[in-house]
């Protein structure tokens, strides 16, 4: 028995897994906190949202599917806020940008 919607759901989950792997690689390879924060926040948020969406396609609009929609909305709202708070905290606690950076307006304005 081959169900087309289930296969589309598995394709979404596979795309999400690939983005998760790229996010974690960025966490390892990039040189300083801010670049790592960029790669990790974008890739892992979209990857997990894609996994949850594939799960919604597979289980349909049951209790678990509705909860997956709520989880997607919640992740999209909170993950950038957490990244923003972490970036500001890192800059205030004195973490410097890496050597290849070209400009730092935030430091110039005396914060």
């Amino acid at each position: 028995m081959i169900n087309v919607i289930h296969i589309i759901g598995f394709i979404f989950i596979s795309i999400g897994l690939a983005f998760d792997v790229f996010g974690c690689l960025g966490l390892l390879r990039l040189p300083d906190v801010y670049n790592r924060l960029q790669a990790a926040t974008k890739c892992i948020t979209l990857g997990t949202c894609s996994i949850l969406f594939g799960m919604l396609l597979i289980v349909g609009f049951t209790a678990a599917g509705i909860k997956a929609i709520l989880c997607i909305i919640f992740l999209l709202l909170t993950s950038p806020v957490a990244a923003h708070a972490l970036a500001r905290a890192a800059h205030k606690s004195g973490v410097k940008l890496c050597e290849s950076s070209v400009i730092d307006k935030y430091e110039e304005d005396g914060n």
Binding site: P31, A39, K42, C43, A63, L70, L76, A87, R88, K105
Partner: protein
Amino acid sequence: MKSRMILFVLAFVVWALLNWIPDWQHLVVGVFVAALVAYLTGDMFVQRPHLFKHVERYLWFLYYIPIFIWEMLKANIDVAYRVAHPSLPIKPGIVKVKTSLKSDTGLTFLANSITLTPGTLSVDIDREKGYIYVHWIDVKDKDVKGATERIAYRFERILTRIFE
């Protein structure tokens, strides 16, 4: 009072979705819980409740969602390319972006959109002067005006119509 009503409706809808498929026992408990939440935190949720009546704001919000998802996809492919490239083609820096939004919700949505779109991450907001400090992974324009046009303009155009 109006703000509390809106929060009550929102909390009740979320409760009903969490207990899908709702029966009457869950709904009765949900009325009490939503009333408690609305009584405790109603004041801080919405400052200007009259804005919820305008229909065209919802339509602009629906128009905003596909643009946002498209930008997110582009951002992810961009980051994946930069990470997988052997020589790490990055040129990071923090630039300043001018914004004309004033309300809290508008600024929050603008900062979130900047964070989830290609190559940018909002670091801090200076509300009195209307600046947002943005960490940019590939700096193309160092002055305020050019950076604003490249980063914030496409969202600000829509968000002004939704939240102001």
